[in-house]
Symmetry: C4
């Protein structure tokens, strides 16, 4: 078994200590529809999800514009088809649009050919709706297969933002296809875990205050500044676009913009910078293991 080795710190432009990216997963109706098509019949739930592109996206774009912060929006292809104006407005405002599946399909147990079909369909949708060809990808629910990086490399993506084994971006080796820049994420930096409740779909029925979410994210950012990694926040417009949450995020963004040691950037911009560092790609391997079996002469139950 080849041992894994940790990623090493990256040096940031202009002597900054830490990179920060504000990313937004514009899931809208997609995750529910790919889980069970019967959700389409639920007008209430569908309206809850549509809040994201209809209300959340314009509000969040306004905040990003106010502070001249580049955002990165991961958009399932179907979200673009159903909410073209919202997605076009993101592109028009100069923000990055990245790939997030077609219908926010879970990749658990999905074979490579199906993944390629999903990838293709998502690219087509983003191209037809907004005229963009994304260079970045994030797997739905931050879960992908060991063959996924090869699929991404074959489609020409520069970076992925799905894995969680590092505070620092790194080059992820792809067998026979060079490498991808990996921009790692963390569950603590996902608004879903603070705010999401969708009956029969997700959430326990507890919703946190925006102040608590900001306290959590601030504690991670303050520590990341000392560590020098990339602090990548993931918000969902159907959640963080709500008035009180957007207002709290706005104040937090203002605070971050006032930090001299922080480089606030888009994900593609960060990936391009990482690429210039010519890092040695890290090889990640599937765990290979053999469970302990009961001794053949032992008493079994």
């Amino acid at each position: 078994m080849t041992a894994l080795t940790p990623a090493q710190p990256v040096s940031w432009p202009n002597g900054k200590r830490c990179a920060v990216a504000f990313t937004f997963d514009v899931d809208a109706e997609s995750p529910l529809l790919s889980t069970d098509s019967a959700y389409a019949d639920r007008m209430g739930t569908m309206s809850h999800q549509a809040y994201g592109p209809l209300v959340g996206v314009p509000r969040l774009l306004g905040i990003l514009d106010e502070f001249s912060v580049p955002g990165t929006f991961f958009v399932p292809g179907y979200t673009a088809e159903r909410h073209p104006e919202a997605i076009r407005s993101i592109a028009r405002a100069g923000h990055e649009i990245a790939h997030h599946g077609y219908l926010h399909e879970s990749l658990v147990g999905v074979d490579e050919d199906t993944e390629r079909a999903i990838m293709e369909r998502g690219l087509t949708a983003l191209d037809e709706v907004a005229g963009v060809r994304p260079t970045g990808y994030r797997a739905p629910m931050w879960e992908m297969n060991w063959h996924t990086p090869k699929v991404l490399a074959d489609f020409g993506f520069t970076y992925d933002s799905t894995l969680m084994d590092s505070d620092h971006p790194y080059e992820l080796a792809v067998a026979g296809a060079g490498s991808l820049v990996e921009l790692p994420v963390s569950w603590a930096l996902d608004d879903w875990l603070q705010y999401c409740f969708v009956p029969d779909f997700s959430g326990t029925g507890l919703i946190e205050t925006p102040a608590k979410a900001m306290e959590l994210w601030r504690s991670e950012l303050d520590a990341m500044r000392d560590i020098g990694g990339a602090w990548i926040l993931t918000n969902h417009p159907f959640l963080s676009g709500r008035p009180g949450r957007a207002a709290a995020l706005r104040e937090f963004i203002a605070e971050v913009c006032g930090m001299d040691d922080v480089w606030v950037a888009g994900m593609a911009e960060i990936a391009d910078h990482v690429r210039t560092q010519q890092l040695t790609p890290r090889t990640l391997t599937r765990p290979d293991f053999e469970p302990v079996t009961a001794p053949s002469t032992g008493e079994q139950r």
Copy 2:
């Protein structure tokens, strides 16, 4: 696919910036009985639910009266039949009573004829018990079908308060039947998610403090005042009628009543005002989608 468009801000009376409604879903025993009739055998759980009309309603009416705040009570027909005095006291105090199903039936997968029968039965109960004919409706668990608005329009309702895709009220187009005023809601403004625990029915076994609930609601209200929408709070008398929660809500209502820019009103009153604005009805559509299928030549698992 016709694209959805967001609702636009409504202007409020007397130069107010924001509308506020305090609404109460008087669920009592109904949601449990419609989920499983065996809950009727649980004397403990039934007593927990009966706390709402028996104790919570008089206490909350006292608070509304103290601040001359008009409340809106969504009442399942069966709740009215089982707790007639509580429901009559709401009407006598001049508050609005609206429709909330007969037995708080989930509408998931329910056909239109059954919905009409539920609607009828709820109307009859509210009429017989309290002599009221509601103009407003809220679907149990904030979930309805794409045919529900037509049912509501046919029964002559003015407004619905179930959907979640806007901060602003709007006119919801109903095919062949004009439109309904929609007064949208939000999970963050529902006391159920802060306080509810009913064994084997709902809740994770965590109960928040009233201070935390008020902090959450205040953060949403403060932001909504800037946005100019309608801030609609939903409380359940069996939950928010408990002493400490009612006391916290009382203080919060006092605070809201001191806000110069806020119009505190009943839901029907808000709907009537919205109607005067002659807004163009929004058309909402069921998501129409086609999942990515595995390529026929691909390896399947």
Copy 3:
């Protein structure tokens, strides 16, 4: 359908405004064993539950003694058999011991004869171990059947503490058997919902701070003092006996003992006082309802 009517306030001794009882459910291993006998094989879980009588009870008795506060301990018969010294120490210290089932059996769906057998077995255990004959009862998981009050009356109990439909104690009518004093409880005043995690049995995997639990309980008590009811707290020695929680409870008890308007008493003492008021018994009835059925001519799905 006979309408339910709310309980009315009770007047308290010596001009006090509010009654307070600190109650302890000494569940120990019982709730797990009655749920699934296989829990007996889990040495770790069993040790977690045994902490209650072994460590929690002596610690909590020390706190009650320090402030001369009478506690009320609801003890399953099996807990007394397995932990006789802990239960005897409660009796020796002059605190009340009340009935809490034999093996903390859920009464959901249990017939009357089986309930009588459980009642008998619990009484025998408490008598044999500690020589006590309880006058009070609390149903496990605060759940009982409509026939349970009759069982309790037949066994000569004075009071029950299971129901949740009032802030004020009341006389509960028992058909053909007079009445029981009911001392109602509330999920917000139960430490289980703040602290309990037992893998594969209960809890979501979140544990709150003692400070948060105290804030919750204080907010309910402060409001109950204005209302004049009985504020009845339920703690579990296997949970609230842990060092930090016991220390926080100790401070809270000290605070309560300093409140001039509060009568801190044992449950039997409160029940006896309520009985002297010769209240008219309340009749509670099982909800009788008929669901809406789909119209026979309607299209079914």
Copy 4:
């Protein structure tokens, strides 16, 4: 039934009032793989778990080193095989490595022979990777069988850290094999319950702030100092190794190091000290019980 008796306080070296141990369960991928081998296919989840040895361990070692605090690391054998460098670095830094199963196998329902095979396999891995022979053991998920202590004694372990029935360490009697020192733990002192979310595996989807976790742990420690027991904290590098959490833990460790009455020690060191006290071993017994059965003449349902 032989009654259990509580453990008595231990006197600590140099007049200290309380022992403190910072322990780390280096679970990494193991708990998931032993639950379902299909988790190995999930590259995202595997990367989330690998964060522990790759990033969390070096960071936490740095903090321990900064304050010269001896840590105790419970390491599944497979974790050592997959992440040898991380485990060797723990040993090189002079910290204790203890046994935590081979693949973090749940022992629920596992027979004695299989347990011996697991024990053997874990010992071999720790020996081959890091050249260590642990003297301490902690059962995965803090759950073991009544035969487990005998297995541990036969393998020559000095101490176990799995049970939860005491604030004080004690000698645990092992029939026919002397005794083990037991260093008891508590769910309130486990970072898993504050921070853990792994989709489809563990967690409710709520993540607490580091400040809340520290508040909880501080409240338990402050109380334990008065009680004089052993306060044993359990952190997981894949959780508490994240930047904000590690930073908060660092401050907390600094605070603890400033407490004059606290003895911060490794687990083996504490166990050795306890052993010198020649305590009478406690005998724990499996609960033996007979449920109440429905009377034969009663009406059954």
